[in-house]
Homo-oligomer: 249 residues x 2
DNA sequence: TTGACTTTTGCATGTTTGTGCCTCCTTGTT
DNA sequence: AACAAGGAGGCACAAACATGCAAAAGTCAA
């Protein structure tokens, strides 16, 4: 395995797991701890990761994360959510999966909203605590703590008997050709299943999520009905519009 | 667990609870008190927290209105939880349902605890965010916002295929003759189902929950294996002991 | 292909860091 | 004032680290 390749992999792992232990990586990547340490040192020096004793932490997490400390782009998320709200009408059956952008959307959803919400994310479910006219249906499964969503075979089976009008999909990465991708297999399976039971699919993205791909492909880009953007240039939006996706900005 | 991670966690806990006790943190984070003290000293030196005798206080934002829901004081709940912790051993399969007392128990459960937790309560599930060695399985269903638990036919069906070693039951009301009761039918059905798949059942109660009944009966009192009490007089405890329940105080 | 050169890797070496334990001192409480 | 609980500083040990070095692997021109 090439050095570049290995370092990219370390960054990917870090994006998924938010921390990494040198001795651990040594085993997983089958190289000596010294090599890992050298990699970590380089990546830290490039400013990509934060080196700490016995491992490394990710810096400004590109992946959704539930620690409260980042108000990174609160405004951006809020703007995305505001636009998404226009698509949501009373009496809809919504599926909302995890992610801080989706959580922000829930928080901005008026308390008067009346409808049904299906979710596999405990934080999203809890976000409806004060919505008296929303029936929340939680889909169970094995909790993935990094992204706080329920995944696994149980999740897929429970979804089998459901149908939803609109799927508010949490998007990690999207590329016009390769489609929507996520860093883990189980997450991909569940998202794929949800997509298959949804009439319309909505994604919200910022610059950094566009035109990149992750490990596991969920579905082709053109399965999206709406793509909501913020600070994205015209050329890129055009690419998605050519795929018959309604781009809202 | 990494040092940085642990310190971040201390800050997080401090943000929620506005004060921390060193000896307490030692148990919850599964490190020695010396290490905690060193952490607190460092964080104080960085100006992040305010070190005081026996613990630390939060610096920045003033304390929120942190008054207790549910009448029972924070301290009482904490005491109940502490006693319950003695019953919990590694490698158990626990079922924990909703309620603030149970949530407190989760918060006090050491991070070193290794086992499986099944729950139908989103807040309980989220309480395990930092327990690396705990597999959390969420049981889905329709979210009941009053008590933040999933209920309904889906919940019962999902439970059908599970077995648990110990059920930490959230108790509303209990009467030696009439048994354990709850205010809603659906909650009763789910609790009944869980009780039927559990080897041992644990309940935690204070005075006000004892010798009263609610609308729907869950199960007879003597299905309990352990009853954990706080501020309950001897005569009443005796009544439960006569039913072959182990009363812990 | 060969051979000179660079890069990358693993190992051996001392060194530093993190943690727990111990002893003695300080603080708060009754 | 007495006493328990909390804290400071030192010691010890293991884990993690930096450094130098040599072998292995890759690069490139002839």
């Amino acid at each position: 395995m090439l050095k570049q390749e290995r370092q990219q992999l370390i960054v990917d792992i870090l994006n998924e797991e938010h921390k990494v232990i040198a001795s651990d990586l040594s085993k997983r990547l089958s190289v000596s701890e010294d090599t890992i340490r050298r990699d970590l040192k380089e990546l830290d020096h490039q400013g990509i990761i934060k080196r700490v004793h016995s491992g490394a932490l990710r810096k400004g997490p590109p992946v959704e994360d539930f620690s409260t400390r980042e108000g990174i782009s609160f405004e951006t998320k809020s703007n995305l959510a505001t636009k998404a709200l226009e698509l949501i009408k009373d009496d809809m059956v919504l599926m909302i999966d995890g992610g801080t952008t989706n959580l922000q959307l829930v928080h901005q959803l008026p308390l008067s909203f009346k409808g049904t919400v299906i979710t596999n994310s405990p934080p999203i479910a809890m976000g409806f605590a004060n919505h008296e006219d929303v029936e929340v249906i939680m889909v169970g499964g094995t909790l993935f703590k990094q992204s706080m969503v329920n995944l696994g075979i149980d999740t897929c089976e429970a979804l089998d008997s459901m149908r939803v009008d609109m799927y508010i999909m949490g998007i990690y990465k999207i590329d016009p050709q390769m489609g929507i991708s996520v860093p883990s297999m189980s997450e991909a399976l569940v998202k794929k299943k949800i997509a298959s039971i949804s009439t319309e699919i909505v994604g919200m993205v910022t610059n950094d999520k566009l035109d990149t791909i992750s490990n596991h492909i969920v579905c082709p880009s053109n399965e999206l009905t709406y793509l909501i953007t913020e600070n994205v240039n015209q050329d890129i939006k055009k690419m998605y519009e050519d795929l018959d996706i309604t781009v809202l900005d």
